[in-house]
């Protein structure tokens, strides 16, 4: 729990530092003020860096305080649910175009539903997967004229 409490401000500090360092690598402009594109990102990076350091100190002061939400994150299958959803999302990204909308969506939604809703409810999972994949395809492709692979 403490790692997450400290991790968030550290992550913000890293983001701000990366933006600050990268800001100095922005090429000078040929039009108008050569430094014009730099001012805003540099100012914002410094602003965010200072605030993130304050945030870090605030978190250090309250490190012992309990945060129920962080605790719940590590309880039960919450982390697994999030990780599996992300993994399935990545697979979906790779199969979406080669397999086409209907097949890839049935695979993605089906796997996600079976994992989240459980194998015991296989009938509901299959009906929902097939019907919603088809309804979504019909709605977007046929009614709204959105081109889908």
């Amino acid at each position: 729990m403490k790692a997450v409490k400290i991790g968030m401000p550290l992550f913000m500090i890293i983001i701000a530092s990366v933006f600050l360092i990268s800001s100095f690598a922005i090429p000078k402009a040929n039009l108008g003020n050569p430094n014009g594109p730099l001012y805003f990102p540099i100012g914002l990076s410094i602003f965010m860096l200072v605030l993130s350091i304050i945030y870090l100190f605030n978190e250090l002061k309250t490190l012992h305080e309990h945060n129920g939400k962080i605790q719940v994150l590590f309880e039960g299958r919450t982390l697994k649910l999030i990780a599996v959803t992300i993994a399935l999302g990545v697979i979906y990204a790779f199969i979406f175009e080669p397999f086409g909308f209907l097949i890839s969506t049935i695979i993605f939604l089906g796997c996600l539903l079976f994992y989240v809703n459980g194998w015991k409810k296989w009938k509901v999972n299959i009906i929902v997967t097939v019907s919603f994949s088809f309804i979504t395809w019909y709605g977007f492709s046929e009614l709204l004229g959105v081109s889908l692979p």
Binding site: F19, Y55, T85, F96, V146
Partner: protein, 501 residues
């Protein structure tokens, strides 16, 4: 007057009436699902607007918005779980009413209060929108920059107790908005030589990621613990006595909510809490508040719907979204090629007045939907979260694909979903991030244009009465939480002294 009638003609086209009803219905459904508010409703349903003409699209989005405001209170009343912040006040007395077996009466009075609040606010919109648009025509780049700064600082300052986090979220959003080709000079910024990033990060992907995927991830925290309560709805109309107690609170709360909605940063949550506390103070029976007092439900419901209409004024007249939901709508409008601002009233009065008039029809449709279809809506609430959340994730992916026809954006969607999850866990306000991403580009360009026109002198930001007023308001908005905290501490100390005396 011509534009008003032209707007009516447009909205009375059967297809537009259809979109108003569909938008209101879908918004109600998404808004009533626990954990999903109007911003998520609009974000998830944005893809429906693709391929539509902009007028129908804006009518549909507005209907989704106030539909979700209606829907938010359904789950507050039945499950004690508000759809979003503005529906929290509905749990105070709505849920106790449901526990007493008055769920149907509570839902009827909340629907009617929302209807009256929404309709009264539309009248306010009619009278205020055009003068405000004319006033906004006086704004130059420096005034626009300061107005955006005020909006952002007001949004951050409302996150009392977590202002540092609010400012970090804002700074992160502004930094994300700088990614891509600088429109003034053509210089690539933070693109890491990835061609996909040269156009910048599409803000709708961030919005769908944070609001839809992030919300679902966050709801995964409790997905195995949620136990659905089955409620008996009872009779779906209120008694004469309940109406007598509610009518004045409804009428008082509508203008209050409307004004709060117009203010940058403030929104439905503030409006509903303000009207709840003011009605409690005005009540002859304040002890009944929290125990199922019907006026404690009616007042905030009227107020938050009026606020949702009020929030459309700065959005349409100045292109300034005052809340997370209107920020999402602005993003969608820009994508549809509509640039909200004072000139929208000059260039496309038909669209603006069609939208305004659609709100009348939308509110009528919603009150009918929310009363006649209450049985169906309650059944939808019984949909298991374990089925619902995978569907929302799937819709988020499809929505993202239809934005750019590229699956590369799926990775960004997941990344912002995770960012949204951790922001929620660590109590970061999300609205400043979203708002900053949307207004960030314009804010920087206006800032630089103002400086260019003054040869780099910062005095341009103090050169007009409007600018100075905006600066004063920005400073006041930053000090507001400090004053509120001090005031709270002082009143606590006074209480202690009074007790010890």
């Amino acid at each position: 007057m011509d534009a008003f009638l032209q707007g009516f003609q447009i909205v009375l086209q059967p297809m537009n009436i259809f979109w108003v009803v569909i938008g209101g219905f879908l918004g109600t459904i998404v808004g009533m699902l626990p954990g999903l508010g109007p911003a998520t409703a609009v974000a998830v349903l944005i893809p429906i607007t693709f391929g539509m003409d902009p007028t129908s699209a804006i009518i549909l989005m507005a209907a989704i918005y106030y539909g979700a405001m209606y829907g938010g209170s359904r789950s507050s009343i039945l499950l004690n779980t508000p759809g979003d912040g503005s529906a929290i006040a509905a749990t105070f007395d709505g849920y106790p009413m449901a526990q007493k077996g008055q769920a149907g009466e509570a839902m009827a009075i909340s629907a009617v209060a929302s209807f009256i609040g929404g309709v009264l606010a539309v009248f306010g919109f009619i009278f205020l929108a055009k003068p405000l648009a004319n006033f906004a025509l006086k704004f130059g780049p420096s005034e626009y920059f300061l107005l955006m700064l005020l909006t952002l600082s007001a949004i951050v300052s409302l996150s009392i107790g977590k202002m540092v986090k609010g400012f970090i979220a804002m700074a992160l959003g502004l930094l994300i908005s700088t990614i891509g080709i600088d429109p003034q000079t053509g210089v690539h910024r933070f693109t890491m030589d990835i061609p996909h990033l040269s156009e910048g990060i599409e803000f709708l992907i961030v919005i769908i990621g944070v609001y839809a995927v992030g919300e679902v991830f966050y709801n995964f925290l409790t997905i195995d613990k949620v136990k659905k309560e089955k409620k008996k709805v009872g009779r779906i109309w209120f008694t004469k006595e309940q109406w007598k107690r509610s009518k004045w609170p409804i009428l008082r709360s509508a203008p209050l909510g409307f004004i709060v909605g117009v203010l940058p940063g403030a929104g439905g949550s503030i409006a509903s809490m303000m009207s709840y506390s003011s009605e409690k103070q005005l009540s002859k029976k304040p002890e009944e508040f929290g125990e199922g007092a019907v006026e404690g439900l009616a007042a905030p419901e009227s107020s938050n719907n009026a606020a949702s209409v009020g929030a459309m004024i700065p959005l349409l007249t100045m292109g300034i979204p005052g809340s997370g939901t209107t920020a999402v709508m602005l993003g969608a409008l820009i994508m549809l090629g509509v640039r909200p601002g004072p000139l929208l009233f000059e260039n496309d009065p038909g669209m603006v007045w069609a939208l305004i008039n659609s709100m009348f029809i939308g509110n009528i449709a919603l009150v009918i939907i929310n009363i006649l279809l209450v049985g169906l809506l309650v059944k939808i609430l019984d949909t298991p979260a374990k089925v619902l959340y995978p569907l929302i994730i799937m819709l988020a992916f499809i929505g993202t694909y239809t934005l750019s026809y590229s699956t590369v954006d799926y990775f960004l969607l997941l990344l912002f979903g995770v960012i949204g999850l951790f922001m929620k866990i660590m109590d970061f306000p999300i609205a400043p991030l979203v708002l900053a991403i949307i207004v960030g580009g314009d804010m920087e360009q206006n800032f630089r244009m103002a400086l260019t026109s003054s040869n780099g002198s910062l005095s341009i930001f103090f050169s007009s009465g409007i600018s100075i007023t905006l600066i004063v308001l920005t400073v006041l908005s930053l000090f507001y939480p400090i004053v509120i905290n001090k005031f709270k501490k002082k009143s606590r100390n006074d209480d202690k002294e009074a007790i010890s005396a």
